[in-house]
Every structure is written in structure tokens, then in C-alpha cells.
């Protein structure tokens, strides 16, 4: 019971935030609504027993990435966007595309509803012992070690790229 209520509550916040993101014309409002979405997603992760993911979601997404966005918005002092009609295709093709996409996924989910069951509220039953965080760590540093290292290299490259791109070239 409690689970449903909480889920519906945060889901409502998520969708509201997302819609607000679309409707708002000023980027900073969109950004803040996106932050809201992310935080409530973190709450949903907690419901799904992924407390570590939830925490990281808040710290990394809401706390770092979105701050970066806000920071850039402030830096470029971006005003409200103008409603230019640059591309008709965006509506002519994209609109039906999105509708079709949404419809397809919904249909799929709802029709395979019987086969897929429920989610377990709260923390998962640990198979290998240790709580969620320990297990995730074990996975991350044992089974997924190589991808992990690769991503670290990716990050490194990204940092360098960002520095190179953003640095003003005096010459």
C-alpha cells in the first residue's frame, strides 16, 4: 500500500517535472525541473532498493551534472528561447515518430504485463552477502572491471576534450 502511494507520488512529480521541462521557455527553469525529476527518480531508486544508485544519482546527476548545466546557463546568461520555426520536419516527422514510439512501448508493456511480475519493495535479498553497496562494488570491480577501467579512460579523455574546447585561444 505504502509502496503504491510513494511510487505514484514520485512518479507524478517525475512526469510533472518532465512536462514542465518541455513547457518552460527559460532554460534555467527547465534545468531546475530536470533536477526535480532526477531527485524524485532517486527516491524511486530507493523504493527499488537501490539506495546506492539513488545516492549516486543525487550526487552525480543532481549535484554535479545539473549544477554544471545551471552554471553554463548562468555563464552564457541565456535568456528565454525564441520560438523560431527552423524545421517543419521536426513536427511532421518527429511528432508521429514520438507518438508511435510511445504507443509501441506502452502496448508492449501492457500486453506482456501478465508475464512480468511485480517488483520487491525495499532492499534486495542479497545473494552474496553484504548489503547492496558491497554487492555492487563486488560486481563493479570483479565482473565489470574492464568496462570500468575503460570508462575511466573515457572520462579522462572527456576532461581533456572539455579543457581544449572551452579554453579561449589567445593568439
Amino acid at each position: 500500500m505504502l509502496h503504491e502511494i510513494l511510487f505514484l507520488f514520485f512518479a507524478a512529480i517525475c512526469v510533472g517535472g518532465a512536462i514542465n521541462l518541455v513547457l518552460q521557455r527559460h532554460p534555467i527553469n527547465s534545468a531546475l525541473s530536470l533536477v526535480v525529476v532526477m531527485v524524485s527518480l532517486a527516491a524511486l531508486y530507493l523504493l527499488l532498493g537501490a539506495e546506492f544508485v539513488g545516492a549516486v544519482q543525487v550526487i552525480v546527476y543532481a549535484g554535479a551534472i545539473m549544477v554544471l548545466f545551471v552554471f553554463v546557463i548562468m555563464l552564457l546568461n541565456a535568456g528565454a528561447e525564441e520560438q523560431s520555426q527552423g524545421s517543419r520536419i521536426a513536427l511532421l516527422i518527429g511528432g508521429p515518430g514520438v507518438a508511435l514510439l510511445a504507443g509501441a512501448i506502452m502496448w508492449l508493456v501492457t500486453h506482456s504485463d501478465k508475464t512480468i511480475g511485480n517488483v520487491v519493495v525495499g532492499s534486495m535479498v542479497s545473494t552474496t552477502g553484504g548489503d547492496n553497496t558491497h554487492q555492487v562494488a563486488r560486481l563493479l570491480f570483479k565482473d565489470f572491471l574492464l568496462p570500468f577501467e575503460v570508462t575511466s579512460i573515457l572520462i579522462l579523455i572527456a576532461i581533456m576534450g572539455a579543457v581544449v574546447l572551452a579554453s579561449r585561444k589567445e593568439s
Binding site: S87, I93, G94, P96, G97, L100, L108
Partner: protein, 662 residues
């Protein structure tokens, strides 16, 4: 004592040397370069000795075989492993290659001291060692072919070492192309082998052949054998593909000694001996082999008569000696062939190095007409050359005598006609060798003002008179001299009270010809008939002596005579001098037409019209299509996004639809 001999170390070590010198040599001092080269070659030699000594006592003894954990080639059912194979045959080869190679490395240190591209030279030399050892130690034809091609490459690089000299570059190209022709045949032969045996592994093939009778007619085996033979003619400079070897003398003398006398050119003989199982079952092929060998021997010998360039004389004598070996294989006396191969490696290397020392002494002069009287000037060189000359001329008890005599004897038992050829060749050999000897070391010094257009970059720095070479060059000569004196002792035939050890040593590695073939019967005959053999030995000594006397008469007693004689038989002389116009003939028959076809057909028609047309057409078509498609590229990010979204939707929808309808 470990189970695993780590044979792969033997080729690997020179490769490392080559890599080090090739990559970093430019920055090294010459001293370092030579240290690296020598070190790795010596290590490889030591390793080879150890392997040869240990192999018989390991596991099942010889043949010793080990695969590396990874394959060289995996194609469907065909798996060619990276395997190394050591039996009596390859033992001898590997010892000769590493040993002589090492000596020649030492020599080269002294000889190339003043050359540019010092590090390049040694990198190539080590590279050659690597490939040669791969060739010798391979346990299957493909890996052998790898080495085969590799030595071709190395010899190309080394012949063209003075790449800024046109003649050198051309000679390199010539050698490379001519070899390709032979290699092509070898390759075809390999394909047939795969098609017949489904494997390239020696042991596998020989195992399958064990109880196959000899082919009466021209069966698949015969064809394979002939293709292999043709490959061998390329590498071992036999008719019709011998033309590259004389020109190969453009390379530095150590190269000529190592590659074009001692080791690489013997690859063909090695290959034939290695394939003895196949050849012995293809009598017709064997006959062809024998005939080609004999013809080459005598042809080359006659050409050698008229040459004046000291190295060219040696080159032709090399060709003819190789002819001997091939002939030996042709009469199924593989052991004799290998035996001669070994001794030849010693004394021919010695001859070349000696010649190098002479050239070095007279400041790059290679024309014997401008030498002479060097006997006193460079005593050590003189003495070693003397030994070598007597050895090759077949004077007992020097090495050459035994090996050559063995071959002649086996030939006689097989076909007297060939024996005659070989016999004459022996005479010619001793004649032109002594001619060389007299012209170079006796009479008075006919030296021009030398140091000009020297084949080596170091003419100027000792244009002051003739001088003996440094000891680093002489030491290897002495060692080789000793070898060519006593090298023959391993093969003294029974008839002369020896045991012909090498023959018995090689027996297990070489499948003796089947009894029913002629060669087989000859073998039977050869076993007993000591007295006749003795007689033949006497004959060959005699002919050698005859050659000596003629040379003495013409070039020492009456030096002016040759001109008269040549003037009298001018046509024949010119014919011989110009090597029977074989090169010109090839030029007319093959090269020119080929060029014409490639220019007027392949280039102007096929390439320009067809291929370019197709390419341009494709380009134009795509351009046209793109011109239409670019309309989609509005350059607006959101439009692209729309397309992507629509596409994604389409994919998802399609997948769902598929999922539903099945």
C-alpha cells in the same frame, strides 16, 4: 636437461639482433652495432650446437619436433602450426648456417668497417640469418616457404645494398623477380601437396607416403616434384633460372659469401633432399633433376672459363657446384649432395672471403687482369686461397675431393652419360680455379692506379699500395681453411678405408630410393664395388691435375698465349664470354614482350579504360545520388532528431510486429 629444446630461440635471436640494429642502429656507434650483431649470431650458433647435441637424447630422439602454442595459419581443415623440426638433415644445415654465418659476420665487421649504412648491413645480415634458420628448422612446407621468401627478401636487400649504384639496384630486382618465378612453382607444388595429403607437415606427409610405391608414369607426385624442382632452380640458380646469381655479385663480398655461396643458394638442394620421400617416388622427376643439375654444372663451368671479374668466376663456379649437388640429388644420392653442400659451404665461403680480402687489398679492383703477383704482398690470404683452390679442384685429401668424388661415383652407378658431364666439369672447374689462382697471385702486379670507381666506398683511404687485411678478416679465413681441409673427413667412402659417417648419419633423415627405381638399383650397386670406386677416385684426381697443368701452362708459363687462342676461336670465345647470350635471349623472349603487353594492353586498355572507367563511373553515380539525398540534410539539428526518432519508432514497431507474428 629439459624436455623442450626451445628451438625457436635459434631463429629468434638473430631476429632480435636485426630488430635492435634496424631500429636503433642509426644512433649506435659501429662498435655497438657489430657487438649486437655478433652477439646474437654467436648466441644462435651456441644454441644450435647445444640443440644438435641434445636432440638425440631427448624423448624419442631424432627427429625432434616441437610446435609453438599458436598456429601460423588456420584455414578450414588446414592447420599449419608454428612448428620446428630437427633431424640429421636440418642439424647439418643449421650448424652450417649458424657457423659459417657467424664467421662471415666476424669477417664483415672488418670488411664493412668503412662503409656507409653499417648498421643497415648488419640488420639485413641478421634478418637473413633469421629467415634462413626458419627455413631450415621449419616442420612444414609453409613455414619453410616463409623462410624461403624471407631469404629472398634479405638477399634482395643485400644485393641492392649499394642502392645508389644502378647496377646493384637492378641486380637486386633481377634476383628478386627471377626468384619469384621459382617461388610461384614452389607455391603451386605446395597447393598440390595440400590437395593430395591435406597437410603440409613433413612427418605427416612422409608418414602417408611410407608404403606408396614409386610412380611408373607422370602422376601427381611427379608433377609436385617437378614444381618443387623448378622452385629449387630459382633459389639454387639452376638452369633456366640461374641468371640472377652472377649479377648478385653486386652485393658486398661477405654477402656473396654468405648468401650466394654458402647458405641461401643451397636452400633448393636442402628442399629437394627434404622432399626426398616425394622425389624418390617420382623417377621421371628424378631424371629431370639429374639432367638439369648436370647441364647447369657444365654450362656454368664453361662460362666461368672466360670471366675476368674475380667474383664472377666464383659465382659461376658456385652455380656449377650447385649443379653438382642437384645432380647428386637427381641420382638419389641425397647424402652425397648434402655432403658436398657442407664442404662447398666451407671452401666457397673461404674463396669468396679470400677474394674479398684480395679486392680489399687492391682497393676495390675486381678485374683479375689488373691483379697478379699478390702472393708475397698478402701471404695469409694467398695461403688460404691456395687451400680453397686445391679443395674445390678436388685434390685429395681435402674436403672437396671426397664430396665431389662421392657424387661422381654415385652418378656413374646411375648413368654414365651424366658421369661424363660431371667428369668434364671437374676438369673445367680445376682449370678455371687455377686460372684465377695464377692470375691473381702469380706473375707481376698489373695494378692500374686503383682506388677509382671502387665498388666499395673506401677506395681512397688506402690507395697507397697493396696491404694485407686486418686480422678480424683473416681469422675467419683461417678457420674456414681448416674446415675445408678436414671437413671432408666425415665422408671418407668405404673404398678409401673410411666409413662415410655423414652418409650413415643422414640415412634416417632421408628416405632411400625404393629398390625398384633405377636410382635404387644404382644404390645397391654402389654399396659394393670398392675397387672400381677407387679407380674413379684416381680418375677425378687426374683430371684435376690436368686442369692445374693447363692453367699453369696458359697463365703462368706463357701468359700471352690466351689472347692468341681466344683470337683464333673468337666466335666461341665471345659466345662463352657473353654467357651464351642467355640474358639477352631472356630479354628478347620474355622481358620485352612482357613490357609491351603490360604497357599497351594492361595499362592503356585495361587499367585506363576499364578500371578507371568503372571507378569514375562509381564516383559519378554516388555523386548524383548524393546530390539528391543532400536535400534531406537541412542542417537543422531538430530535423535530424526527428528522423532519428521516427527511425527508432519504426524499428521498435517492426520488432514488436515480428514478435507478434511468430
Amino acid at each position: 636437461m629439459t624436455e623442450d629444446l626451445r628451438l625457436w630461440l635459434i631463429p629468434l635471436l638473430p631476429l632480435i639482433g636485426a630488430a635492435v640494429n634496424g631500429l636503433f642502429g642509426r644512433r649506435f656507434k659501429n662498435r655497438v652495432v657489430s657487438a649486437v650483431a655478433l652477439l646474437f649470431t654467436a648466441a644462435s650458433f651456441a644454441k644450435a650446437v647445444q640443440a644438435v647435441l641434445l636432440a638425440p637424447h631427448i624423448g624419442t630422439g631424432l627427429p625432434y619436433q616441437r610446435m609453438l602454442p599458436f598456429n601460423w595459419l588456420d584455414a578450414g581443415t588446414l592447420h599449419v602450426p608454428f612448428g620446428f623440426y630437427l633431424d640429421q638433415l636440418s642439424s647439418i644445415m643449421v650448424l652450417v648456417v649458424t657457423g659459417v654465418g657467424f664467421l662471415i659476420h666476424i669477417y664483415a665487421v672488418g670488411y664493412m668497417a668503412h662503409e656507409g649504412g653499417y648498421y643497415r648491413f648488419f640488420a639485413y645480415l641478421n634478418l637473413f640469418m633469421f629467415f634462413m634458420l626458419t627455413l631450415v628448422l621449419a616442420n612444414n612446407y609453409l613455414l619453410m616457404f616463409v623462410g624461403w621468401e624471407g631469404v629472398g627478401l634479405a638477399s634482395y636487400l643485400l644485393i641492392g645494398f649499394y642502392f645508389n649504384k644502378d647496377s646493384a639496384a637492378n641486380a637486386g630486382k633481377k634476383a628478386f623477380i627471377v626468384n619469384r618465378i621459382g617461388d610461384f612453382a614452389f607455391l603451386l607444388g605446395m597447393f598440390l601437396v595440400i590437395q593430395k595429403f591435406g597437410s603440409l607437415n613433413f612427418t605427416a606427409i612422409f608418414g602417408l607416403l611410407k608404403d606408396v610405391p614409386a610412380e611408373a608414369g607422370w602422376g601427381l607426385l611427379t608433377i609436385i616434384a617437378l614444381l618443387f624442382l623448378f622452385g629449387a632452380t630459382g633459389k639454387s640458380a639452376q638452369i633456366p633460372l640461374y641468371v640472377w646469381l652472377p649479377d648478385a655479385m653486386e652485393g658486398p663480398t661477405p654477402v656473396s659469401a654468405l648468401i650466394h655461396a654458402a647458405t641461401m643458394v643451397t636452400a633448393g638442394i636442402y628442399m629437394i633432399a627434404r622432399s626426398s620421400a616425394i622425389f624418390s617416388r617420382a623417377p621421371h622427376a628424378l631424371e629431370v633433376v639429374a639432367i638439369i643439375g648436370g647441364l647447369t654444372a657444365i654450362f656454368a663451368a664453361t662460362m666461368g672459363l672466360a670471366q675476368n671479374d674475380i667474383k664472377r668466376v666464383l659465382a659461376y663456379s658456385t652455380v656449377s657446384q650447385l649443379g653438382y649437388m642437384v645432380m647428386a640429388c637427381g641420382v638419389a644420392a641425397y647424402a652425397a649432395g648434402i655432403f658436398h653442400l657442407m664442404t662447398h659451404a666451407f671452401f666457397k665461403a673461404l674463396l669468396f672471403l679470400g677474394a674479398g680480402s684480395v679486392i680489399h687489398a687492391v682497393g676495390g679492383e675486381q678485374d683479375m687482369r689488373h691483379m697478379g703477383g699478390l702472393r708475397t704482398k698478402i701471404p695469409v690470404t694467398f695461403w688460404v686461397m691456395t687451400i680453397a683452390t686445391f679443395t674445390i679442384a678436388g685434390v685429395p685429401p681435402l674436403a672437396g675431393f671426397f664430396s665431389k668424388d662421392e657424387i661422381l661415383w654415385q652418378t656413374w652407378n646411375n648413368s654414365p652419360a651424366l658421369w661424363v658431364v660431371g667428369f668434364i666439369t671437374a676438369g673445367l672447374t680445376s682449370f678455371y680455379m687455377f686460372r684465377l689462382w695464377f692470375m691473381t697471385f702469380f706473375g707481376e702486379l698489373r695494378l692500374k692506379s686503383h682506388g677509382h670507381d671502387s665498388a666499395h666506398g673506401h677506395g681512397s683511404d688506402h690507395s697507397d699500395g697493396v696491404h694485407e687485411s686486418p686480422w678480424i678478416m683473416l681469422a675467419p679465413l683461417v678457420v674456414l681453411a681448416v674446415l675445408s681441409i678436414f671437413g671432408g673427413l666425415v665422408g671418407i667412402p668405404e673404398a678409401l678405408g673410411g666409413h662415410n659417417e655423414i652418409h650413415h648419419y643422414l640415412e634416417p633423415a632421408i628416405t632411400a630410393p625404393l629398390a625398384e627405381t633405377r636410382a635404387g638399383m644404382a644404390m645397391e650397386a654402389a654399396e659394393h664395388a670398392g675397387s672400381t670406386e677407387l679407380a674413379f677416385a684416381g680418375l677425378s684426381v687426374a683430371v684435376a691435375a690436368l686442369g692445374f697443368l693447363m692453367a699453369w701452362f696458359f697463365y703462368y708459363k706463357r701468359p700471352e698465349l690466351p689472347q692468341k687462342v681466344t683470337a683464333k676461336i673468337n666466335g666461341l670465345y665471345l659466345l662463352v664470354l657473353n654467357k651464351y647470350y642467355v640474358d639477352e635471349g631472356y630479354d628478347r623472349l620474355l622481358v620485352k614482350p612482357l613490357l609491351w603487353v603490360s604497357r599497351h594492353v594492361l595499362w592503356l586498355v585495361v587499367d585506363q579504360k576499364l578500371i578507371d572507367g568503372a571507378v569514375n563511373g562509381a564516383g559519378g553515380a554516388s555523386q548524383a545520388v548524393g546530390g539528391q539525398l543532400r536535400r534531406m540534410q537541412s542542417g537543422n539539428l531538430r530535423s535530424y532528431a526527428a528522423w532519428v526518432a521516427a527511425g527508432a519508432a519504426a524499428v521498435v514497431a517492426f520488432m514488436i510486429w515480428r514478435g507478434v507474428h511468430q
